[in-house]
């Protein structure tokens, strides 16, 4: 059985070392927070200027001055800190964040990331903090379905969509397999409802059995 979005989030959360400083991208990566073990000591960074971000805010705890990168109301945990945008991105660019988790349209076997634009001529370009995160965090984990709706693989020999960053992705978590990308190529560390051989047959990327 392939993994649900929740199961993918649980597996990513499992692989985050205790005490890591982590940035969760907008959308599916946000769900990873729900699966972090209590007491893990993982500290969440949000690009709009906060470390120690807590869970989403509800009802009377909603504060319009306290939001996450997706502009949703959130809460602060004890030990939280606030800082301005240049500091927040210096923190990223300077390699101080351990892990950032993002979605993707495509990832190449060399770790190139495409997740900000499909290059469609009528699309309005919008990049946000994706390019800064991609090259800044010590490790970039991608969460995505392995195949697009039309069946095309999203782990590819080289990205056809405009790049977000070059050689920046270290792991790819998908609904059917987890890949570690390193100098040797794409190493399959887990599969879910698919065999290694079937996976190898459906991807144009050389795979390494773990």
């Amino acid at each position: 059985m392939s993994l649900s979005r929740q199961e993918m989030a649980r597996i990513v959360a499992r692989d985050i070392p205790d005490g890591s400083y982590v940035n969760l991208g907008i959308g599916q990566p946000t769900m990873v927070a729900d699966y972090l073990r209590a007491g893990s000591g993982v500290i969440l960074h949000t690009e709009n200027g906060m470390l120690g971000m807590g869970p989403p805010a509800t009802s009377d705890r909603i504060d319009p001055d306290l939001t996450n990168a997706g502009k949703q109301p959130v809460t602060e945990l004890p030990g939280a800190s606030y800082f301005h945008h240049a500091d927040s991105f210096a923190m990223m660019r300077g390699g101080h964040l351990d892990i950032c988790i993002m979605g993707a349209f495509q990832v190449s076997a060399a770790g190139d990331l495409a997740n900000w634009s499909t290059g469609a001529p009528d699309a309005i370009p919008a990049v946000g903090g994706a390019m800064d995160l991609a090259i800044g965090a010590k490790q970039v984990f991608v969460m995505m379905t392995l195949f697009a709706k039309d069946g095309k693989p999203k782990l590819v020999p080289s990205c056809t969509y405009p790049l977000t960053g070059k050689a920046c992705v270290s792991r790819v978590y998908t609904d059917v397999a987890t890949f570690v990308l390193d100098d040797g190529g794409a190493r399959v560390t887990e599969t879910f409802g698919i065999s290694f051989d079937e996976l190898a047959a459906r991807l144009d990327v050389p795979l390494i059995r773990r």
Partner: protein, 229 residues
């Protein structure tokens, strides 16, 4: 010179046609809505707006765009679920857009305020947003040269000011305020409260008064108090 407390309309009178205006905020957090409303009333046009987003809904920045006052937007993320005003103008070819990675936007503003003529950053290397820009390999890593973004006027929102113009912010509403305050010739801060000099702990001031020229309290459309000392 200390900051001058004035009405929103008087404060934004510093903006002239063709100016580059830095507008604080990340979504609505830290957005100086009263100052933008006053800017619409003031009437300056042909503006270049530098802000993280390009307006939400029909108010604030979106209303300024809808009024046809903006020639160009420099931002990191114009497209949002409620950015219909910008989307319509962009698709109609009525507004220019420069998309900048968010960290480069912040650092280009910081550079402008810090007297830096440009900087090499790894952000954007190998992407369409670095095309045509000078690159350089430093210690084996490729970087792209980015230039400062100075503003004529910055419109920001802070939480509390003292009468000098020292500012503190509130939670994630701080965002672009501190760097924008340094990057403009004239900085206008919309604040929730103004306290007497000495009431803010010097250790917690985020933006020193040297960067702040004008203070505006919400609902102060008609009041005007010159403060000097």
């Amino acid at each position: 010179m200390t900051a001058t407390e004035m009405s929103a309309l008087d404060a934004v009178a510093a903006v002239q046609d063709g100016d580059t205006v830095l507008v604080g905020g990340f979504g609505m957090a830290g957005m100086p809505v009263e100052l933008i409303d006053a800017l619409i009333e003031h009437g300056a046009g042909d503006l270049t707006i530098v802000s993280n987003n390009a307006g939400n809904g029909d108010t604030g920045l979106a209303a300024l765009l809808a009024a046809g006052r903006v020639r160009k937007v420099i931002c990191s993320f114009p497209r949002q679920s409620d950015s219909w005003v910008f989307d319509g103008l962009y698709r109609a070819g009525k507004i220019e857009l420069e998309v900048v990675p968010q960290g480069n936007l912040a650092e280009r503003l910081r550079a402008a305020g810090a007297g830096i003529g440009g900087f090499y950053t790894p952000t954007g290397v190998g992407t369409p947003l670095a095309e045509g820009k000078e690159t350089r390999v430093i210690d084996g890593r490729e970087y792209v040269l980015e230039s400062p973004i100075p503003g004529d006027v910055a419109l920001i929102r802070a939480y509390v000011a003292d009468r000098m113009g020292n500012l503190v912010y509130r939670k994630t509403a701080r965002n672009f305020g501190p760097v924008m305050a340094t990057a403009a010739a004239v900085t206008v801060a919309q604040v929730s409260r103004i306290v007497e000099i000495g009431e803010l702990d010097p250790e917690v001031i985020v933006t020193p008064a040297i960067y702040v020229n004008r203070l505006v309290l919400p609902g102060s459309a008609v009041r005007r108090t010159e403060v000097t000392s």
